[in-house]
Symmetry: C2
Subunit: 231 residues, 2 copies
DNA sequence: CCTACCAATTAGGTATACCTAAATTAGAGA
DNA sequence: TCTCTAATTTAGGTATACCTAATTGGTAGG
């Protein structure tokens, strides 16, 4: 077959491990502990150890695992993880743009479908959407070649000095938080004025030059990433 | 929860059994043999017996199985089977209409995705497509309530007397045959002139009033359903 | 009425992907 | 250096959904 890849005989389960390792490893791609993987995947640590041993042993070694030393993606594993992330984010964009899903609903559907769409499906929705670079949460969509651009952003919850920011992205992990976030008008790309409330552990935010301010708890503020515009 | 159904905890495998029983049972919903199921699903007969015993035993009895007596769908099983068929055909229509898939490619993708889309996804693509009643192969799409209209049609391969017909539907089972069929211009709804070739075991067909005639082997002719217009 | 024969079933596997409970280990702090 | 604890691993399950081989059953023809 041509220089491309063959459909990757990965199971849904394996894909989920790879994606979790990618995410938890962060920008530096550091080694990930069994415990953190277990928490993220909501699977018992013993099961995670088991799976990783199988993954690093057989197949095309998707993963570099060491006894008591955590895991890291191999080049092949990283390639596959980014492919799944691309699927996920393209599907989310598609659901949002074409099928008019509410933002809080796209993640759950994408989380399932990302494992089952073909390369053709991926290619067709990408084309339909005009090859988008970011998804509706503000996350970068990896390119077909597995490149993903990273922006320099911080958590709203980590703001110390009040100021004006641009909204980078919102987390898709918690439906309830996301609804609250949307209710404030927080949308990737918009401008946000942030004031840290000294009394309670919360943030007062307003969009653009609007005077309407909303209060966000620290927990919710952890689900918003922003970039400082001016101090 | 409201009067509706809960997401049906069926696995992909169970759904496939139900769909196969529905199809093989035909319009009369007759009992289906283990052997025919095994062939259709490409699973060993022993495995089919096993699965059916589990299905008829536990859960909400999706199936009426009797030792040495074949199977039949229960009302609940029929409901679920039609739901999956609705998914399948809506997805096919969507891939064809919205994502510009070639006709021969829609089936394989739908065959996978039908098990994983949510009710919301089903509803959204149905709305997007204007609640279509037939899929691109000419097959009826069951309604949300599980009603499916049946047309009175025959196989092209069963034609004895030459004549003019309307094309009812084409089978989605064989990609290769489907490509041949499409190449003749055979499309559901079009008019077809059929002449049985006495010499070889084949059919000479032409579309509408076109004089261009194509030869279809009996094997391919089995994948085309037609309705007689005039003798 | 009795056999074959074929369909169906039973018996006894395998692989995947989980689980809980019981070791074991690495590393931090005394 | 020793000890303790939390992380990790090992051991020994479960459920699903397949498989092959061996057995049983129904029935059509002789
Ligand atoms: Mn998501
Ligand atoms: Mn996203
Ligand atoms: Mn189909
Ligand atoms: Mn179809």
């Amino acid at each position: 077959m041509s220089p491309g890849k063959q459909a990757s005989a990965n199971t849904e389960s394996v894909d989920n491990y790879l994606k979790a390792i990618l995410t938890l490893g962060g920008r530096e791609e550091s080694r990930v502990t069994i415990k953190s993987l277990a928490e993220r995947l909501r699977i018992a640590p013993a099961s995670v150890t088991n799976m990783l041993q199988k993954l690093s042993g057989s197949t095309a070694t998707l993963v570099d695992y060491e006894r008591h030393g955590g895991v890291q993606l191999s080049p092949a594993g990283k390639r596959r993880a980014l492919e799944v992330v691309r699927h996920h984010r393209l599907i989310e964009t598609f659901l949002y743009e074409v099928l008019d899903y509410p933002l809080e609903e796209v993640h759950e559907e994408a989380e399932r479908l990302e494992h089952f769409i073909s390369e053709r499906f991926e290619e067709r929705i990408a084309a339909k959407l005009g090859h988008p670079k970011i998804d509706p949460h503000g996350h970068s969509i990896p390119s077909m070649e597995g490149e993903m651009t990273a922006r320099e952003s911080m958590l709203l919850a980590d703001v110390i000095e009040d100021g004006i920011f641009v909204i980078d992205s919102v987390s898709d992990q918690d439906t309830h938080n996301l609804r609250l976030i949307e209710a404030c008008g927080i949308t990737p790309g918009a401008r946000l004025r942030v004031r840290k409330n000294s009394s309670s552990d919360s943030y007062s935010v307003s969009i653009g030059r609007s005077s309407k301010a909303y209060d966000l708890s620290r927990e919710v503020a952890r689900d918003v990433r922003i970039i400082r515009l001016k101090g």
